[in-house]
């Protein structure tokens, strides 16, 4: 394991930023968000960012192709560009797991070339949690907040930053900053891991049971009588889906510029009235159905298609952001009771 004294953290960031773009969580007036590092920017050790790290690979909107009209000719312009190398520092364990879930969607055949390009050029440096909150339920999905995945895993323990590369990409990045790092033993990190695990035991949702959603439960959950009651207060806004690190639905639309068309895609939300609207109309006409779609997707459909892996990472953003506090934890607790 490598280590860097915290006093040299700025040099570490500068060394990375000299090579490629570096993004990290920065405190703002209204919470923490990822920002581009430049001299003078301070790394925030806040538990998590307002928006998830999926923005780096799957941005909220992106242009996919342009059509330009001149006289009677239409020119088709491929707007794709190869992404530049970049590093995202300070990703938490929950968000780090979300990339694996998004990969299963976007890197499966047919590969999404926009996403693939960003994934190939992005290096993820994760940071272990030391002060989890009551809204954290990553443990329910088998995520260890003290040992995050990613190309490089980091810990801040005592007065040093500890780094451990997990992939070739991670090794390559560590080699670039080799002059700043020194070898260290794992004692401090191990002590921290043990301490945080003790804290995690006190959190109310870390051991949220997921068994009720395993196995052949599709029809049982789909037909549950509890959906109308659960969704009654739902406003039908897209907050939960837009702050979610694993929500991956998108819509494609054309914008008429007056002299051509710009085709773009943007995040879609199953909470919206025009979600999956087709020529024949809409397949889900009530908020109950739309609400059910979101949770069925995360807890039943996605695991069924992906070897039992749930489509939720327990980051807790939807718990704290939902205007009416209806969330996946309440749904799981309520529907979990069905099996008993």
């Amino acid at each position: 394991m490598k280590k860097i004294a915290l006093s040299k953290l700025n040099d570490f960031f500068a060394a990375i930023a000299a090579e490629e773009k570096l993004y990290l969580p920065v405190d703002g007036e209204k919470g923490t968000d990822y920002k581009l590092w430049s001299e003078g920017v301070t790394y925030s050790r806040a538990l998590n960012t307002n928006r998830s790290a999926k923005d780096f690979f799957f941005p909220q909107t992106e242009n996919i192709v342009d059509f330009k009209r001149e006289g009677k000719t239409i020119e088709v312009i491929d707007t794709r560009t190869e992404a530049e190398d970049f590093v995202v520092f300070g990703v938490r364990a929950c968000d780090a797991r979300s990339f694996g879930i998004l990969d299963k969607v976007f890197l499966a055949d047919p590969v999404d070339s926009f996403y693939a390009s960003r994934r190939a050029h992005g290096t993820i440096v994760t940071m272990a949690c030391t002060r989890p909150a009551e809204t954290c339920f990553c443990g329910a999905f088998g995520i260890d907040m003290t040992a995050p995945e990613g190309d490089i895993s980091c810990w801040i323990a005592e007065d040093a930053l500890w780094l451990s590369a997990n992939t070739e990409k991670g090794e390559a990045l560590l080699n670039k900053v080799a002059s700043l790092t020194e070898e260290g033993d794992t004692a401090a990190v191990d002590a921290q891991k043990a301490a945080v695990k003790e804290i995690a035991k006190k959190l109310p949702l870390q051991n949220l049971p997921t068994d009720a959603f395993k196995g052949d439960v599709l029809l049982e959950k789909f037909n549950s009588a509890k959906w109308p009651e659960l969704s009654k207060a739902c406003l039908g806004c897209g907050t939960c889906t837009f702050v979610c690190p694993t929500c991956q639905c998108y819509d494609v639309f054309d914008f008429d510029t007056g002299h051509g068309v710009k085709r773009a895609r943007c995040w879609d939300s199953c909470m919206y009235s025009d979600f999956t609207k087709m020529a024949h109309g809409n397949s889900r006409n009530s908020q109950v159905e739309r609400f059910r779609q979101r949770f069925m997707h995360k807890l039943v459909y996605f695991p069924m298609n992906n070897g039992g892996e749930f489509g939720c990472v327990g980051c807790g953003r939807c718990l704290s952001k939902c205007p009416i506090n209806m969330n996946i934890v309440k749904v799981m607790k309520s529907l979990g009771g069905d099996a008993e």
Binding site: Q60, E134, A233, L235, C237, G238, T239, F255, A264
Partner: protein
């Protein structure tokens, strides 16, 4: 307070005077609640909650509930009664189906403000006089309530119920000196460049989740213009800064003269954009140019934008009065 409300609701329900009660349901943590429609006395007994965190304005739920028919009771805080009146004025709810129980409110707490103090891992919150004792897995913290009170409650315009059939607790007074326009005035005093920078900073954070629109008691259109694909406006994206500006200008404009300043938009915004400052600008302008008007004060008056005077000011007043050039 909570017990009084609960008992009264159960009483109404058991007596068959109403067949449902619109209230708040206890949540997962000490600070969250979900609006709920109770039809069962036992459910009420176990899950009904009214405390320092029951902030959601329940009046909008009545629009959907009224379509179902049947009598219902609803709990309304003073600010919610303004929304109620406004909905009645617009014929969105049926007054005769609703039994309004006005409830006393001394301001609601904003859990984000508690968390912004670095308090994590909250396992319980108890109210002790003017303080909150927040229990967390990292230890207890005591803090004065007013320091973590929601922004909208710090500038509460009225503790007086505009409408009720019965009252639990006290009804208070209208407070014209609440200072709710102070921030608007501060912005007006800035230069256009400063104002532009301020609003770009705020609006560029918008993720177009539409929570502000969906929670708004004034936004009750059957189909919103932003949901109509034929309008040529995107519903769920803001590709350019223009669209961010446009959505918020148009939304504020659509509720101008109808907005009661309940503050739900700013409460629900996941990106903490001070949306109420847009609505308050309209309210302030209308007060200054067309005479004092408070939406939701009554159910009959005409709103400023559906009314006129022969001697109204000309639009050029915008060029002439206040604010730096």
């Amino acid at each position: 307070m909570q017990e009084l409300m609960k008992n009264r609701a159960i009483e109404l329900l058991s007596a068959g005077e109403v067949d449902r009660v619109v209230g708040w349901k206890k949540g997962e943590f000490a600070y969250d609640c979900t609006p709920a429609i109770f039809t069962d006395a036992n459910d009420l007994r176990d899950n009904f909650v009214y405390d320092d965190f029951t902030a959601p304005n329940l009046s909008k739920y009545l629009v959907a509930e009224c379509k179902k028919g049947g009598k219902m009771a609803v709990f309304l805080k003073p600010c919610d009664t303004y929304s109620f009146n406004q909905l009645q004025k617009e014929h969105r709810i049926k007054r005769e189906l609703i039994h309004v129980i006005g409830i006393e409110c001394n301001g609601k707490a904003d859990v984000d403000k508690i968390k912004a103090r670095g308090v994590d891992g909250i396992t319980g919150i108890t109210s002790e006089g003017a303080n909150f004792v927040v229990e967390t897995i990292y230890g207890n913290e005591t803090m004065p309530k007013y320091e973590v009170m929601a922004e909208r409650c710090l500038t509460c315009k009225s503790k007086k119920h505009m409408v009720y059939d019965e009252l639990i607790g006290e009804t208070g007074d209208v407070n014209p000196d609440c200072g709710r326009f102070d921030m608007v005035a501060k912005l007006e005093a800035m230069t256009p460049d400063e104002r532009f920078a301020f609003w770009r900073g705020e609006l560029s954070r918008c993720i177009r989740c539409n929570a502000c629109r969906n929670v708004c008691p004034a936004c009750t259109c059957e189909q919103c213009v932003f949901d109509n694909p034929n309008s040529g406006i995107q519903q769920k994206v803001a590709v350019t800064s223009f669209e961010e500006n446009m959505f918020h200008i148009i939304r504020a404009y659509h509720v101008a003269g109808r907005c009661t300043d309940c503050g739900e938009c700013s409460r629900v915004c996941p990106q903490s954009i001070p949306l109420h400052l847009l609505n308050r600008k309209f309210i302030k302008d209308m007060n200054e140019l067309y005479g004092e008007y408070q939406a939701g004060e009554d159910t009959t008056s005409r709103a400023p934008l559906t009314n006129y005077n022969m001697d109204d000011c000309e639009p050029s007043i915008v060029h002439e009065r206040g604010g730096k050039a």
